[in-house]
Symmetry: C2
Subunit: 356 residues, 2 copies
Amino acid sequence: MNDERYPGAFTYAAAGVNIDAASAALDRVRSKIHATFPGTGAARPIGHFGGFYRLNDDDDRLLVASADGIGTKLKLAILLGGIAHATVGADLVNHCTNDLLAVGARPLFFLDYVAMGELDPDIFARLVGGMADACRANGIAMIGGESAEMPGLYAPGDYDAAGFIVGELREAEIVDGQAVSSADLLIGIPSGGLQTNGFSFARAVLGLTGDAAHDRELLAEPVAGGNGESLGETLMAPHRSFLREVLPLARAGLVTGMAHITGGGLIDNVPRMLPDGLSALVDPAGWNVPPIFWHLVQKGDTRRAEYHRILNMGIGFVLSVRPADTDRVLNEVPGARVIGSVVPTGQDGMRVLGLD
Amino acid sequence: MNDERYPGAFTYAAAGVNIDAASAALDRVRSKIHATFPGTGAARPIGHFGGFYRLNDDDDRLLVASADGIGTKLKLAILLGGIAHATVGADLVNHCTNDLLAVGARPLFFLDYVAMGELDPDIFARLVGGMADACRANGIAMIGGESAEMPGLYAPGDYDAAGFIVGELREAEIVDGQAVSSADLLIGIPSGGLQTNGFSFARAVLGLTGDAAHDRELLAEPVAGGNGESLGETLMAPHRSFLREVLPLARAGLVTGMAHITGGGLIDNVPRMLPDGLSALVDPAGWNVPPIFWHLVQKGDTRRAEYHRILNMGIGFVLSVRPADTDRVLNEVPGARVIGSVVPTGQDGMRVLGLD
């Protein structure tokens, strides 16, 4: 699908991913899902970064759970092989960890699902080993999982993996944006790369064909404007965990809202951390966008409104912080920058300066 | 791979599924996985039907979690379409539920992972709707999930799905086989069909090619020895949940061990419910094997030792019960039958009469 204003521009839908369709499909089953809640400990409607469950009526402790996948970064790992399988295993754990973190929860345990056409013990050991190492780094117990051989569903060498995480918090520790006010500043934490989002787009705009020799050659090329690092190694940069830096700040009451910048980018994820009636104003001049993002955007001739939804553009996590606490938070999180502010626009959502 | 004793006989490995390879692959990462345990609440080594996590040192309550897939029953659902998508959604929930039940846990909440090449809202709504309906029937809250579009990984119309479940129990409610003794009887509960295991085998021995018209025609044929029901509808019979019948018996202390008969059949799953030094002696004359199983076994010319590992052969769940409690348990579970006994062989494992 070409953009009307910029002929030839590349959009996410053209790469085969339709965020709006996913949202519409979920709307069709939302009432059935919520019909499972009565008589259980389900504590909040679906749609947060994690789902909430109250163990006891007389206890203010809640469990929070989240499920995630790796997306088509997997295809790159499959193509590049070796240590890339461990990278996406760790990516999955860190993605799950950050989702729980975004509501203020401390992760407790993790389980995985791995499906292959035919089980490859080397790939499996690297992939699950990468998950286990990342779990240990985050203080999370990996207490189980499922591996499935599904001949006929996955092409030889292909696989998929999903992660499932459970954490906990006290009622008063929930960060759901209700504490955000219109004077707050937005602090961005560097992502260190695409994390696990935008890979269908990246593969499309770079012209990866699925032919291994062709694709490997293409991925060996340097990132435009970079320091000689290859496209492949840059795209495979790990999905960071923000747990160690951010959870202590949240538990100390220094953040009023949080967003993990995953599928949907800043555009879709920042509004999830704001209460009704408040908007975000983000200034892209507030941080340095790593060269890989400009490389992809220029290859795709992609509009700003689109690329801020497809890619995180260098911001992996966003905190909303009261002005008085800003210096302290900036000092405690390496690389953190003020990227915008919360404004009383009277409508939900966010605006990126210079986007309209 | 042909069996050496019965030339032409069909084995599971020939259908592309290698249970031993999966086990060996897991062995390679077991130490890395267990290295995530220190300092967390992880309460037992991996390998049970569910993973255990202790929330507090001063509380005897444990969480139990399990991850599962649907296996290649999915391919049949994709081929048959319509309500079959809801069936496999419910299968996934019931599979997860039974896994928790097998250790004595009451399920609390469920999350799903659904991956498609391109999101099909109709399939998604049926599949996730089937999950939600099954959650409600089991009293489980569906508190979240993840849907992924992965163009290039899944063929058009294909998808995969995984389920994650968390339950709870008190320390004293754990059923891990430590209470099993050599006088106990084994009670089998009917499965109502293949549940979600043996489908790669079934597809191979029936000669499904992946050509939709050919496969649909073949699946419209009647089950040999049946009452006219088609192969397709019989294979798509739902995976039963045993929660409502069995959990009250377990909580009343009437069962000493439990096994959910999934991948690996009676041969691999019954030993998981027994302590060291005890074996199971199962007599296949003890229950009526539904015609679909004989149909598949005869098509594959498959050895008994093999088919009791590939298929559940009509038994979905096994209870170990003290002789004095047997009548009461048989009266409370419709269709339950004594299928064998626990014997002091001095070695782990099980034996099916007439198998050697």
